[in-house]
Amino acid sequence: MILGLTFATPLLLLGLLAVAIPPLLHLLARARAQEVLFPTLRFLRASVEKTARRRRFQNVLLMALRMLLLLLLALAVAEPITQALGSWVASPRYAAAVLFDNSLSMGARQGAATRLDRARQQAQLLLSGTDKPALAALLPTNAGAAPRELTGRLDTLREQLRNVPLSFGRAPLAAQVATALDLLRNDTSPQKVIYVFSDLQRASFEELLASDALARDEDVHLIVVHANDGPVENVGLRDLRVQGQRVVGQTLDLTAVLTNSSPTDRTVDVRLQVNGAPVGARVRRTLSPVGSEGSSATVRFRLPLTESGPLAGEVILEQTDDLLPDNVRRFALDVASGVRALIVRGPSRETDPLYLAPDALLRIALDPFGPQRPWSVRPQVVESDRFDPASLQAADIVFCTDVPAFTPEQADALARFAAAGGTVFFFLGPDVDPANYNERFVQAIEQEGGLLPGRIEAAVGEIGPSADATPIDWVDMAHPYLAGLYDSLNEYLDVIVQRHYRLADSARPPRVLLRLETGDPLVVHKAFGSGQVVLCTTGASRRWSNLPMARLFVPLVLRAALLSRPGSQAPESYLAGSPVVLRPDLPPTATTASLDVILPPDDSGTSEVVTVPVRPSKEGPVAAFDRTERCGIYQWRLGGTGESETPVRGAFAVNPSGAECDLQPFDPDAFRQGMRNRGLQRTYVGADLASAHASALTDAQGANWWDLLLVLAILTLVAESVVANRLRARADAVPAHLNPRLRDEHPPA
C-alpha cells in the first residue's frame, strides 16, 4: 500500500524501475559519444558557454518530465485503488456467510499456531475490519445444529468465533455451502459472498468441487482463505477394521491403515492395547512421502477373545507429530459368551453309519474339538419327540434336522423364539412331513408370511450310487454366512445333491444362499422379527447329498451360530459427531427407563455424565445419543436409579474422521481452475484475506484489456525510440574521413 492506495496489479509496480531509464540513457549516451572531426571548436565553445544555463535547466526539466511520465505510466498500469478492499462487491452493503472450518485437520500445528488459530485470526479480520459486511452469519463446518441466520450484530459473531472449538469430524463443506446459499438466497442485500476459512484439505474440497449447489447461484461469490502455511509432518491412523466373530474363543483380526501426509519418509511404531494392557509386539512401518506410492501402509494385529463382556482397546501410533488426535484409534466390543446351540434331531436308525445320522456331522461342524478344548459353540442334542419348547430359553440358535413333524406348541415356540432374535435353522431330511411343516409354520403363523421362507413341496430326485446328482451353480458370496471364504465362485461349487424338497414360489421371496443347477434353491434365508430363519432343502446327513462333507458346510453352520448372539454385531466404533443408538437389554415395556452415558474425560480429566431416555421401538428399547463430539471410549449404564455405582452395561468408541488425517491440501490454483471449469467464475482463493480480496477485486473489474494495451503501447513506444535512435544513429553515422582514429587511412578528399 502506498499513500493509502492499493494496487490491483502490484506486480506491475516493478515498472517503477523504468524511472531510472532516462538518467541511464543520458549517462550511456555521454559515455558512448563518438568522436568526430570538426574544423574549429570556436563557435561550439561559444555556443556551449552561451547556452549552458538554459540547457542545464532544459535538460533537468526534460529528464524530470520523462521520469514523471514513466512513473505515472508505471502507477497507471498497476491500477491504484483508493476504495476500500472489502467494497470490491461495488456496494458498501453486502451479506456474507462465513464458513469456518473447524474439522480435525485444522488442528494441525504449523509453527507456533494451528491452522485453526490462523483461520480464526483471518475471520476476525473480516468481521472487524473497515471492509466488514453489513450482514453476516457464522457457520462452523462441524457445529451440529447451531442457529444459523444473518445478523448485523457482528460483535456477537466475533464472540462466537472466539469460542468455536476444534472438532474431530470431517468438514462437510458442500453441505455447509448449500446451507450458506439458502441463507443468502433469502436476503435482499445487493451483493452476497460466501467466505470459507479453511485449510483447502483435498478430501473436503474435492467434494465441494463436485457439488452443484454453487452453480445454481451464480451471483454469489465464493472466497476461500486458506490457512496453510507450508507442509506438515503427520502420520495418522486412517482406519481400523475389526474382523471376526465377537464370541469367546474366537480371534479377531484388527487391520489399521496408516497414512503419511509429510513431505518426507516417516518411520513409525504401532501397538495394540486392550483394556489398558498391551497386546502383542509393536509393529514398525516406514511410509513414503505424501503423494507417492507407499505413503499408506497397513498394520495387522490378532486379538484372541478369552472373556465375555465389554472390551475396549486402541491402536496407538507412538511417534508424535503435528496432528496428535489421529495417532490413536479406539474400538469397543461386546464379547459374547459361548453360543448356545440346540440341535433337535429326527429319528435315526441304529444300523446307520455315523455320516447318515441326521445330527452327527452337524454336531461335529459346530464343535470340532469336543469338550477337551474351549470353543465358542456348545451344542446340545435333543430328540424331536422330546423337544420341549421351554428349552429354547437357553438357546441362541436351534437346528431342526430331519424333524418329521412339529406340534402346534413346538411350532409356536420356534416362531416366538425367532421373533425375539433367535435363529432357527431347518434341515429337511427324508423323514420330514412337508404337509405338517406347511400347516404349522406357514398356515398357522401369520407374521411375515409364516416362519418358513416358502411352502415346502414334494421331494424330487433319486438316491443311490447310480442316480443322478445335481450340482449347485450359484452361491451368495456376499451373505455374512458365506462371505470371504474363498476368492472365486468355483471354489464354492463342490456340492452335489441327489434328492431335495422343492419350494413353492412365495409372495416374499427369501434370499437364496445356495442354488441348484436346476434353479431350485438349496439354502434360503429370511429375517423373521428380530431373528433369522434358514432353510436347507436337503438333509444334514450324507444320505441325500454331499453337503455335510462340502467345504462350505462348516463355515455356514458355524457362522450362523456365531452370528446368532444378539448385540455382538454392533459397530466397533463411531465417527465423531455421529449419532449412536444404544440397545439396553431391557423388557420391551420398559418405557420409563433412561441411560447414563459417561463421556470420555476432557482435558482436565473430568468425565461428564449425560442422561438419555429409553424409548420403545420395533426392535426393542433403544436410546439415541448424539453428543459424540469428543473422541474416546464412552460407557453407559442403566440410569434413573440414583446410584452412581450402577455397573456399566456397555461401551462404544468414538474416533476422529479417518479422512482428516490425510492433510494433503488442494493446490489453490487447481481448485480455482476446477471451479471455473465448472462455470463458477466467481471463485477466489488467497493465503490471507487481503490477497483473496485483491484477487476478487481484479476479477470483479472484468478482464482489463486496457492494461495489456497500455503495456503494449509503452513497449511499442520504447521499440520506436530504439529503432528511431538506431536510424538516427545511422543517419548521424560518422564518415570514416571524419573519424579521428581513421583520418590517416581515409583522407577527406
Partner: protein, 300 residues
C-alpha cells in the same frame, strides 16, 4: 578540348560556360581600367607572345605584319605590358581539410578556384601569382601569365597538402609589405583566425593600394551544424575535444557563425573589400559565373 592532366583544372567545366572568357576579361578590365589610371602605364619592348584581337583592344598594338601574312588580327604582347598583377592567396591550414558529406574539402575547393582564376587571368594575358599559406608561406609563385607559369601553378597546387594551424595575420602583413603595389589580391580561406587581426592584415593590403577579394569558404555543415546525437568534436587544427549535444546548441551555433560572417561582410564592406561567402556545396564554376556576372553588373 582535350581532357586535362591536372588535378584541379577541369577545362570542360570552364569551357562549357559560354562567354566566360569575355565576362572574365571584362571583369578584369575593370581592374585594368583602374590600373590605367595609375602611373605605371606603358608596355615593355620585350615581345612576349601574340594573342588574337578582340574588340576593344588598342589597335596600336596590332601586328600588321602578321595581319598581312595570315589575314588575321593579332595583338603583340610584351612581358611588361600586362596591366594586372593578381595574387591568389590560398589557405592551406588544417581546418581547410574538411568536408562533411560533400565531395570536396574546403582546400580542394579552394584549389579549384585558384586554378580556375589563374587560368582565366593568364588567358587574358594578366599576370597571376599564387601563394599558399598556413602559419607560414607554403609556396609562393610570383605573378606571370605564360602557359609555363600556369603549369607550375597547377603542379604546386597538386603537391600541396593542408596540415598546420592557421595564423594568417602575420603572413598577410608580410605579404602586404613584399608584394608589388596596386595588385589584385584574392584571398581564399575559411578565415579561422583572430578576426580583428585578419581584418587588420587585410587593411594592410588595402593600404598598399591592392584591391582585395575575399572568398570565404565554408562547408555547409559549418553553416548549419546538422548533427543530432551527442558527439565529441575534435578540432582539426589543435586536436582539442569538446562533447556537445548538438540539439541543445544548434541555434546558438548558427547565430555565432552568422555573426562571424556578418562581421567580415560589414568590415570588408567598410574597407572596400569584396567579400564572398562561398559554401562548398556550390559548384565552383557556378559560383564563379555568378560572382563575375554580378561584378560586371556592378562595374558598369
Amino acid at each position: 578540348m582535350a581532357k586535362s592532366s591536372y588535378l584541379y583544372f577541369e577545362p570542360e567545366r570552364i569551357e562549357k560556360l559560354s562567354n566566360l572568357n569575355l565576362l572574365a576579361r571584362q571583369a578584369v578590365e575593370g581592374f585594368v581600367s583602374g590600373l590605367h589610371r595609375s602611373p605605371h602605364k606603358g608596355f615593355s619592348v620585350e615581345f612576349s607572345e601574340h594573342r588574337e584581337y578582340v574588340p576593344g583592344d588598342d589597335i596600336r598594338h596590332l601586328d600588321w605584319v602578321a595581319w598581312g601574312r595570315s589575314d588575321r588580327c593579332y595583338i603583340k604582347q610584351y612581358e611588361q605590358e600586362t596591366n594586372l598583377r593578381a595574387y591568389v592567396l590560398l589557405d592551406a591550414s588544417a581546418s581547410m581539410n574538411y568536408r562533411h558529406t560533400g565531395e570536396v574539402t574546403k582546400f580542394a575547393y579552394g584549389c579549384y578556384l585558384a586554378a580556375c582564376l589563374s587560368y582565366l587571368m593568364c588567358r587574358q594575358q594578366d599576370a597571376v601569382g599564387v601563394i599558399a599559406f598556413d602559419n607560414d608561406i607554403r609556396f609562393h609563385l610570383p605573378p606571370a601569365s605564360t602557359p609555363a607559369h600556369l603549369d607550375r601553378v597547377f603542379r604546386e597546387l597538386e603537391k600541396t597538402r593542408p596540415g598546420r594551424k592557421t595564423t594568417m595575420a602575420p603572413v598577410f602583413h608580410r605579404l602586404a609589405d613584399t608584394l608589388a603595389k596596386r595588385g589584385l589580391v584574392i584571398v581564399i580561406s575559411d578565415l579561422y583566425d583572430e578576426q580583428s587581426e585578419v581584418l587588420k592584415a587585410l587593411q594592410h593590403f588595402a593600404y598598399r593600394k591592392h584591391q582585395l577579394i575575399l572568398l570565404h569558404l565554408m562547408d555547409p555543415a559549418e553553416l548549419t551544424f546538422p548533427f543530432r546525437k551527442i558527439f565529441t568534436f575534435v578540432d582539426l587544427e589543435t586536436d582539442e575535444k569538446l562533447q556537445v549535444d548538438p540539439r541543445g546548441i544548434r541555434d546558438a551555433y548558427v547565430q555565432e557563425v552568422q555573426a562571424f560572417t556578418a562581421r567580415y561582410r560589414k568590415e570588408c564592406s567598410d574597407r572596400n573589400i569584396e567579400y564572398v561567402l562561398t559554401p562548398t556545396d556550390t559548384p565552383y564554376d557556378q559560383m564563379l559565373l555568378t560572382y563575375l556576372a554580378k561584378r560586371r553588373a556592378l562595374l558598369r
